[in-house]
């Protein structure tokens, strides 16, 4: 009996949280206009969310591309199809790994920082202090960070894919001897701009939206103690990872299903 009671309670709690999260999201989005009137708030957040994640994204992208080049070469050379290495590297980066891995890194690098920042602001009563001064903390604090995440994510995913493809080329044609012309021309023949690249960008925008939403809401909703903030930070990373991977499956099924 206790079990059923607990199940009901936790279901109610999670639906309650989803409802509060949606309310929070609507409030955040309604603040977009006022942030656009004060772009200084936005550039500051673009710096701490986007620029600070630039290095980890670039280096990871390079290595992911190099590993793809290496592994792809060994598998493809069994079939005598090393020439299609470019297609394999580019398709897997542009469609899947670029948006997904950069979103996971983004959640770990920027999302956790956002949660901790907002949670600490709440714990030290800075948010209620703002309310006392008749400043809407959502418009002033949350919306710029949300927009910054939304803008940085597709840019970072684009950098990730581009650097990865170059990394694959360095390993593939630099070290392993795949013809450089074949690497690029086969890639250009197979990768479609709308089907592959635009869909990849749409994916990364969706991931940026979801990751920023989760990170900011977890921070805003955190129990204002040091333990509460640390739990919220953990929840951000875990929930973002789940959501990104689950959404990726759905988006892939929708976008690439008809082939």
């Amino acid at each position: 009996m206790d079990f059923i009671e607990g199940l009901g309670a936790s279901t109610r709690i999670s639906f309650n949280k989803l409802g509060r999260g949606t309310h929070f999201l609507v409030q955040t989005i309604s603040g977009i206009m006022s942030v656009l009137l004060r772009p200084r708030l936005l550039t500051k957040q673009l710096y701490s969310v986007g620029v600070m994640s630039f290095l980890i994204i670039t280096i990871s992208g390079l290595f992911v591309g190099m590993v793809l080049g290496l592994q792809g070469y060994y598998t493809l050379s069994d079939f005598g199809a090393e020439e299609t290495l470019g297609v394999m590297v580019a398709a897997s980066l542009v469609r899947e790994l670029g948006p997904v891995v950069s979103a996971l890194l983004f959640a770990g690098r920027a999302g956790s920082a956002l949660t901790a920042e907002i949670g600490l602001m709440k714990a030290t009563e800075q948010l209620s202090g703002m309310e006392m001064m008749a400043i809407d903390p959502i418009k002033r604090i949350i919306t710029p960070r949300f927009l910054a995440g939304l803008i940085s994510m597709p840019l970072l995913a684009g950098i990730f894919s581009a650097v990865g493809i170059i990394g694959g080329q360095i390993v593939g044609s630099g070290l392993l001897g795949v013809d450089e012309g074949a690497y690029w021309s086969q890639m250009q023949a197979s990768i479609d701009f709308y089907d592959d690249i635009v869909n990849g960008v749409i994916k990364s925008i969706v991931f940026g939206f979801v990751t920023s939403w989760i990170a900011l809401f977890e921070g805003y909703d955190a129990i204002p103690t040091s333990e509460g903030v640390s739990r919220a930070t953990t929840r951000t990373v875990v929930n973002s990872a789940f959501t990104i991977l689950g959404l990726d499956f759905i988006l892939t099924a929708l976008m690439f299903g008809d082939h």
Binding site: T43, G50, F54, G158, A162, W184, I191
Partner: protein, 156 residues
Amino acid sequence: MQHTRNQDTLVGLLVASGIAGLFFLAMHVSNLSSFSDEDSYTITAKFENSGGLKVKSPVSAAGVKIGKVTSISFDPKTYKSVVQLSINSKYSTLPDDTTASVFTAGLLGEQYVNLEPGGSETYLKKGGEIEITQSAIILEKAIGQFLFKSAAEEKK
């Protein structure tokens, strides 16, 4: 003030490199630069069998890509495969006795339409139809015929 100016520069750099990355993907990785839809004309070819030809398969002449397949449908009256080819307007001087055949690039490669120009003085018009076509070679059929033939030779 110096600090925020630095931040602005770095944000600018991020946005610039992000756009550069996406631009690189669009122009260097995808097929966007190689062919656009605006400056092209459509011709039709009817094949007995278009094999594994797909929409977006390349159309080439003398080994050079000059267009792509835009649609493939089955004609219920003639029982043929109707293939629409979109050809770049730069190549508007194809003779009307051009032969279209479905070839395979390599043994396992993708299938494409090969156009072989004839000697006619008149050119194919927009919306025109290629009269002479050659079907795709179906590997299973060819192997079947080969086995049948070698079995018949053994009997002799």
